[in-house]
């Protein structure tokens, strides 16, 4: 009987002032967490495969770039006109570095990079380009697609909107 009453109360609670207040606090906390602390985001696209799969869910931390500046190797979310649609890429070089692709391999400052996260690779070729001041160079982990179909390049550091939680 106690169990029945408890279940009924859990599923169909009496709408009292205390209950409304509790519901309001839960809703406010959820809104605060999912809006400012760990923001949910769906991945649409294959440019970060196999690290992040098309269609999977990630949470990103929008406050972390203010505490820890982005570094080479970090996966970051890049803001466009706002935060509803963003790009997800990996930082491969910082301001002042030169970036180049030879036979599918990334060269930073003329040194071939070890990239354990890259599992698909095709013959990308790109002439050397220098990263401008206040900018970082971003590339996706999926290098198996033709170079023309992969969006990559340098962008302003201020566009970095967060780091994925995992």
């Amino acid at each position: 009987m106690i169990f029945k009453t408890g279940l009924k109360e859990f599923l169909l609670p009496s709408v009292r002032r205390k209950f409304l207040l509790r519901a309001l606090v839960v809703a406010a906390c959820a809104a605060l967490i999912f809006r400012f602390i760990a923001v949910p985001s769906w991945i649409a696209g294959k440019s970060m495969e196999p690290t992040y799969r098309d269609g999977s869910l990630v949470f990103y931390l929008p406050w972390l770039p203010r505490l820890r500046p982005p570094e080479v190797g970090d996966v970051v979310m890049v803001r466009m006109a706002g935060r509803r649609m963003m790009l997800m890429k990996r930082i491969v070089a910082k301001a002042g570095d030169t970036v180049e692709f030879r036979q599918g391999y990334l060269y930073v400052n003329n040194e071939r990079q070890r990239e354990p996260y890259v599992q698909y690779r095709s013959q990308w070729e790109m002439e050397s380009s220098t990263v401008g001041p206040g900018r970082v160079y971003l590339v996706g982990d999926n290098r198996g697609m033709p170079i023309d179909q992969h969006d990559f390049g340098q962008t302003d550091k201020r566009r970095i909107a967060g780091y994925p939680l995992w």
Partner: protein, 171 residues
């Protein structure tokens, strides 16, 4: 179920506050120049998008509704594809017609729209544009870019005067 344990004064006060909030929100999003521009963006989304069920008559109507949305000339600049040209509303409608005949589904959406009125008859929009689609043979395409759009007011109607892709990643 027990009734709500709130006195009538609190109830009336809450109802008045909620009604006022809804009224101001609805007014904010449905009147004024910014709302008129948002409606033009929605019209652009509706008339460029096509669902697999859209027949020739629907597509033809959509095409007819596109022409009055653009100023003449309209500038289009897409650095990614080395496009920088001035074109006419008719030419834009013809290009969309070609897109509709090549794709069984097209979905155009604007996100994170910010509108700035720069004059009585001029405004600037910054938005993220997402186009997704499917070719009849099943191949999918998807493109997301940030865009800078200029609109001008002609004969009491807002019209799109230029579209420019903002390069976020520069090789």
């Amino acid at each position: 179920m027990k009734s709500l344990n709130i006195n009538w004064k609190t109830g009336v006060f809450t109802a008045v506050i909620l009604t006022a909030a809804v009224f101001f929100l609805v007014r904010h999003f449905t009147t004024g120049e910014e709302a008129a521009i948002r409606r033009k963006l929605s019209a652009l989304e509706d008339n460029i998008s096509r669902s697999p069920g859209d027949g020739n008559i629907t597509l033809s109507l959509k095409n007819q509704r596109l022409t009055p949305l653009f100023a003449n000339p309209c500038r289009i600049k897409i650095p990614k594809y080395n496009v920088d040209m001035e074109t006419t509303p008719r030419e834009i409608a013809a290009q969309v017609f070609r897109l509709h005949s090549r794709a069984s589904r097209v979905d155009l959406r604007f996100y994170d729209i910010s509108i700035t009125l720069t004059g009585e008859k001029k405004a600037e929009i910054i938005a993220t544009v997402n186009v997704q689609g499917r070719a009849p043979e099943g191949g999918r395409f998807s493109e997301t870019e940030e865009a800078f759009i200029e609109v001008v007011k002609e004969e009491d109607e807002w019209k799109f005067a230029s579209f420019e892709q903002i390069e976020i990643l520069e090789r």
